[in-house]
């Protein structure tokens, strides 16, 4: 519905810089997730967009209009809170109707819109219940309906699924995605759960210490993390230090498979990340170009996969994870501690990290 633009948004509490010069843009109808650990500034950023916290500097624009000085209600924002914040003394209908009453919509119109929204979230049969008579998932849907009924320019959700058990959370995620797509709503979502961020979003902004570390599509942040923090947050466990030499990256006592785009001068060092499942092992130490020899330190059986911890000739360690599918699932483990192996991977599996 609306296009949102944050420019150099900062928030400082005393000496604590909660959010530092965050800029981003959400196109109309897009679903953007702020992802990061607790205390990274994602909720503060969200609350500044919602109008609940005034920014120290920077501006928020909705459809090109500067709304930085406007209250939450004036911005026309629908918000779903972490605690849901349903009004306990009001029925489902009264909760959902509250925003329309505040906007002095005619009673007949209120009744019509509340009913249609309760049908969208499949709660029409519980319209006269109080929040304490509903299950967690039903309360969640009331909170969503209450935020959506005012036809908000942006839907803002602050870790709304944190309190739900895994199964219910997955069902709600699917439902939320469906509803925002159907109604073509611009949504801003906050979570610390990377899987949730990846499955819900069109765009993910990974935040750390008040800054956006990387903004991109789920595939981009997952497959091509730009910083060590993002790689780590996306579950990459292999980090190696390498050195450029004539277009070739030397690391772990050998040359990495190429071609790689050299950044920086010869002799400059670079940190790189590789997903363990990208590291393929062959028996025997065979030092060829584009492969590293290594010794197996430890083999751990995980059921659906087996992971090997390797020691490279220069002392760095590397993890490899092999799926146990097909026939290999029934065979004994391929390697055990002390075996010599050769590790290789596709050139695009290497992510060069910004220091």
């Amino acid at each position: 519905m609306a296009h949102v633009q944050l420019s150099d948004l900062s928030k400082r509490y005393g000496v604590f810089q909660a959010v530092e010069t965050v800029s981003m843009e959400v196109q109309s109808g897009e679903f953007l997730t702020l992802l990061g650990p607790s205390g990274c500034g994602k909720t503060t950023t969200l609350r500044m967009v919602a109008g609940l916290v005034p920014p120290t500097t920077g501006t928020v624009r909705i459809d090109g209009r500067d709304v930085t000085a406007l209250s939450a209600a004036q911005r026309g924002i629908g918000m779903v809170f972490q605690s849901l914040a349903l009004f306990p003394h009001m029925t489902v209908t009264e909760n959902v109707a509250f925003g329309l009453k505040m906007r002095r919509v005619a009673p007949a119109e209120i009744a019509r819109r509340v009913r249609s929204l309760l049908e969208i979230v499949r709660l029409a049969h519980l319209a006269d219940r109080y929040p304490n008579q509903l299950s967690g998932g039903q309360q969640q849907r009331v909170a969503l309906a209450r935020a959506l009924v005012i036809e908000p320019s942006i839907l803002i959700l602050d870790e709304p699924f944190g309190a739900l058990d895994r199964k219910l959370r997955e069902a709600m995620q699917v439902e939320l995605r469906q509803i925002t797509r159907d109604l073509h709503i611009t949504a801003l979502f906050v979570t610390h759960d990377q899987e949730e961020a990846l499955m819900l979003s069109d765009l993910v902004a990974v935040m750390n210490q008040g800054r956006v570390e990387q903004l991109g599509t789920p595939q981009e942040v997952f497959r091509a993390p730009r910083t060590r923090f993002v790689a780590d947050f996306m579950g990459v466990t292999n980090f190696l230090k390498g050195r450029w030499s004539g277009g070739v990256l030397l690391a772990g006592g050998g040359a990495l498979p190429g071609p790689l785009q050299q950044v920086g001068a010869d002799g400059s060092t670079v940190e790189l990340a590789i997903r363990p499942e990208e590291v393929l092992l062959q028996p025997g130490a065979e030092a060829t170009t584009g492969a590293l020899t290594a010794a197996v330190l430890q083999a751990v059986y995980h059921g659906t996969s087996t992971s090997y911890t390797l020691r490279l000739p220069d002392g760095q360690t590397l993890m490899s994870r092999e799926p146990n599918d097909g026939a290999s699932g029934y065979a004994p483990l391929r390697f055990s501690a002390g075996d010599a192996v050769t590790a290789r991977w596709r050139p695009e599996a290497v992510h060069l990290l910004q220091s």
Partner: protein, 287 residues
């Protein structure tokens, strides 16, 4: 020890004995006494039963004292509730580091002895007190306003002492409100007044009910403040009971007054709390 573990009821025994021995038995004795024929100076229970003590209560004088007691208590409770909610609201919005200090300030009236407090009010409210002197000095009035030793003075004195109980009860209710609830109302377009009246106030219900219970029963049974600040004109039931037991030594009639005071307090509080519980049962139930 193992016997205690098996039966937690045993742990309640000392408290039960204390309440029974020191509270229930004396009250039962006094109520029994109220059904004995009045004999001045007699405090022994007898088997002769009569309603003569209660018949005396039908006299307009006693009814008017009962009504006056109720009026003073209801007004005291109402003023305490309004001021208590306002005070608790400002305490709730105070940053945490100042809050402890402010709570001590709110509790201060309880730390001062009743006599010192009453003399303080005399200095303020007396015919030659600070308020009258100031008003006369400013030329607002010529004759001093008679404020001390009136029903109004009693209400002022009672509110002063009982307000802390109301504030603490209401503050506890404030602290149980999810801070995101007023924020949610804000994002939905409610202004500060609407948020207070339609969202905050209903959620304070349990705290206000607790505060009303405490303040109303304390006001109904208060003796020292009405006796010291009310003067002769502002007699309430408790001062009347005192006269019967200590001055005229008519324990039987005094006991009947005690029974009426107790019954009135219980019936009024019981029906108010019951009506309130019925009204809020659906949303307040299990969480």
């Amino acid at each position: 020890m193992s016997a205690l573990r098996r039966s937690p009821a045993l742990l309640m025994l000392p408290a039960c004995l204390l309440v029974t021995g020191c509270l229930l038995l004396p009250i039962a004795y006094l109520i029994g006494l109220s059904f004995n024929p009045p004999v001045v100076g007699e405090v022994e229970l007898t088997t002769t039963l009569t309603l003569r003590n209660y018949a005396r209560l039908l006299d307009w004088f006693y009814a008017s004292v009962l009504l006056k007691t109720l009026w003073v208590s209801i007004v005291t409770t109402a003023i305490s509730a309004v001021l208590g909610i306002a005070l608790a609201l400002s305490l709730w919005r105070t940053p945490a580091q100042w809050r402890g200090l402010l709570v001590v300030v709110v509790l201060a009236p309880l730390l001062v002895s009743i006599v010192a407090r009453t003399f303080g009010w005399m200095l303020l409210l007396g015919d030659a007190g600070i308020i009258n002197n100031a008003l006369i000095g400013l030329g607002v009035i010529r004759e001093p306003l008679h404020m001390m030793f009136t029903q109004g003075a009693v209400i002022v004195g009672l509110v002063h002492v009982f307000l802390p109980f109301m504030v603490l009860s209401v503050l506890a209710a404030f602290d149980r409100i999810d801070p995101a609830i007023p924020e949610a109302a804000d994002t939905l377009g409610a202004g500060p007044f609407t948020i207070f009246w339609q969202v905050i106030l209903p959620l304070l219900n349990p705290g206000v009910a607790a505060g009303v219970t405490i303040v109303f029963s304390l006001a109904m049974s208060s003796y020292v403040t009405p006796a010291l600040m009310g003067g002769s004109s502002a007699g309430v039931l408790t001062t009347l009971v005192y006269q019967q037991l200590v001055v005229t030594y008519d324990w039987h009639f005094g006991a009947a007054l005690v029974a009426v005071l107790l019954a009135t307090t219980l019936v009024i509080l019981g029906s108010v709390l019951y009506a309130n519980a019925v009204r809020t049962a659906r949303w307040m139930g299990r969480r």
